[in-house]
Symmetry: C2
Subunit: 463 residues, 2 copies
Amino acid sequence: MLSKKASSLCHGEDSSYFHGWQKYDSDRYDKLTNPKGIIQMGLAENQLSFDLLESWLASNPDALVMKRPNGESAFTDLALFQDYHGSADFKNKLVNFMARIRENKVNFKPDNLVLTAGSTSANEILMFCLADPGEAFLLPTPYYAGFDRDLKWRTGAEIVPIHCSSSDGFKITMCALEEAYQRAKKLNLKVKGVLVTNPSNPLGTTLTRDELNHLITFSVAKNVHIVSDEIYSGTVFDSPSFVSITEAVMDRNLERTDLWSRIHIVYSLSKDLGLPGFRVGMIYSNNKTVVSAATKMSSFGLVSSQTQFLLANMLSDMKFTDKYMKENKERLKKRKETLVSGIKLAGINYLESNAGLFCWVDMSHLLVSNTFDAEKELWEQIIEEAKLNISPGSSFHCTEPGWFRICFANMCAETIQVALKRLKDFSQSINSKKKAGSCSRQRRFLLGKWVSMLLPYDPEPDR
Amino acid sequence: MLSKKASSLCHGEDSSYFHGWQKYDSDRYDKLTNPKGIIQMGLAENQLSFDLLESWLASNPDALVMKRPNGESAFTDLALFQDYHGSADFKNKLVNFMARIRENKVNFKPDNLVLTAGSTSANEILMFCLADPGEAFLLPTPYYAGFDRDLKWRTGAEIVPIHCSSSDGFKITMCALEEAYQRAKKLNLKVKGVLVTNPSNPLGTTLTRDELNHLITFSVAKNVHIVSDEIYSGTVFDSPSFVSITEAVMDRNLERTDLWSRIHIVYSLSKDLGLPGFRVGMIYSNNKTVVSAATKMSSFGLVSSQTQFLLANMLSDMKFTDKYMKENKERLKKRKETLVSGIKLAGINYLESNAGLFCWVDMSHLLVSNTFDAEKELWEQIIEEAKLNISPGSSFHCTEPGWFRICFANMCAETIQVALKRLKDFSQSINSKKKAGSCSRQRRFLLGKWVSMLLPYDPEPDR
């Protein structure tokens, strides 16, 4: 009686990424009331700079009580129908904020901006606009676990992974792009574009000039779209600095070519300002038809006018936002260093990174075999024994077992120390068990790992 | 390069209903600055009771500044990720509010409620859950102009109209339901359900017991869903009182049958509380699978946590909400009487109604011929000459030319008098022209009208 979407498990949420949240929800860590509970390290939230936001709110009560600078109440206007074009004032402030994050090397026009209830909706709307059911987008792996839901579920679009490898630092290569394109063709899928996260979720790295140029060259050659999800652009806490797709295209003097209208940016205030609960996302596109269709589609997820008013006020205080962005990055950097010290002590390697709210770590040495089954087993052990919810690489479609994403900004300084202690103890305990394990098993494992390196990658790994 | 959805005009917004808004936007009436501008009577907004809401806000600043009753700030919790289950507190208050609107004859469980960014999203999500592309829902005509966009555009579902006629007061008859069902079958469309608005938009009437029983009998016989969009349930200002689909099903002791899980309600705070800008909609369903899938889909349009907090506080003040609902209905009733007096003076007939923010009026006597072309011509004259934006019946898929929806609650008392004066002048001027017109033309018109009454209804009328 129901639709296939509702009655089948095609919603893309059937992964350890989401299951980990459920486990956490059933046994949340609390220093006082549940000190043996699960610590959530699977959620890319930024809790490090709330004091700055709270202090701004305390000094600017008018923004909360919906009072305009002239003292008049804005309530009636806000309560009334806000059409899908969104608040002009808010959009002006947003494009200005986006430009400042990019050091004013690019600028944005408010008319090309579409507001959406979070970037989840922004990404889905772009898929609805750019791909018909059965058409495909290429995504470099590892990619955000939610994309299977956001990009495919209701749109009927397909994702074809671009296989990036740890041997290249998971960088996007021309070879990997071409290989994915040919694979899509073999599957009879029409490729409509490439979607990247820059900075990358889950890698925590910004795209290099080379990677951006590969994307641009590829998009020109194949006549396809580039969707650049830049929701972590304000979290770049270390060098190299952030280069947006817009800047990269401009640097190659391609603004007046067809490519320009195939560049679409997704942004949000959920990560950079730490406000996911407020549901503010957006699409920026130079394509008038996309802007027009996306604006109409935004009817299905408009941003509360109350929230638009509050944040327009906050963003108009440029002195505050500049200070916030600077301080927030410093705190993220410091927190990342804390995490890295801890995981080093636990004997765990990681990918060097410069952005985001997470670190991409390599625990393959703790696997009993070089398989995704073993990765899942390790993930279950970590959540059950170490009581840490971290997200396994398989949920990000990583092609190599043993990688995990660890979030570091969604807890206080004390909690991360507890988490790191648990991780170290767990790692040591697994290592001891492995040492005590039979020699033949060890040999089997190493042999398996060696064989898997020689075999071609299986696009449908056993997860 | 774009999807069919983005590049074609299948978005369902290509109707006079939406074009009228654009015309109004380009020449808005203002008593002082633009006294000859267009008065907006095409927008179902409720501006009559804002003073009550503002007065509540003034007495409850904590709800605005995100302070809890114990004095602590709720900001951090609200800013952080709100998962798609929504605020438990808000959902409790909402089901309680919904029950009170239904005089506590039915009660609702918060676990069956899914929050969405407005009812636009709620209706689309239900279609995604209940119908696969190419499957159909039956909708009684006239139906809300936005449904072509909301129900069909992105879901691929189809709408098959149930033709209701002025001779029955546009009531839903068993015969019309069966005729629509057979028409769908002839078109090779699988019928998945019936969607009604109760109270009806655009009729402004509540469904009668007979109509509800027809729907229930039909749904049982055909094994189809009933979606009841009850977003105007709090606007019933006159007898007969509102009977919800839930109550009607319970009165027939069908709660323990399959039918129960095929009943889905859409609700919103946009009309009853006059808060469309805040984007609060919801789905209530007894079907666990629908609730689960719809909850996941609500990711694409969550309600701002700031707004959830504010309105949870407001709804928890039952003394206030009871007073608001009572007073608001009285004001709507009075305003409706003002409108009716004015249109009577203009010699215009109307459908007797008891709810909503609009009146369904018959201007067929002002048409030059009994066609939808003539209706469009009249609509253009009204907007260009009388400077009133009212919505033609064709945009609501009415099968009889000459009906219009006039909204009455989105303006002040003074403006509606200006609007009614304009309508009277316009009506008189058209009547004078018609009287002065040639006798033969008049005869042609009457002959045409007589012939059209004898001919079967053309399902693809010339709009």
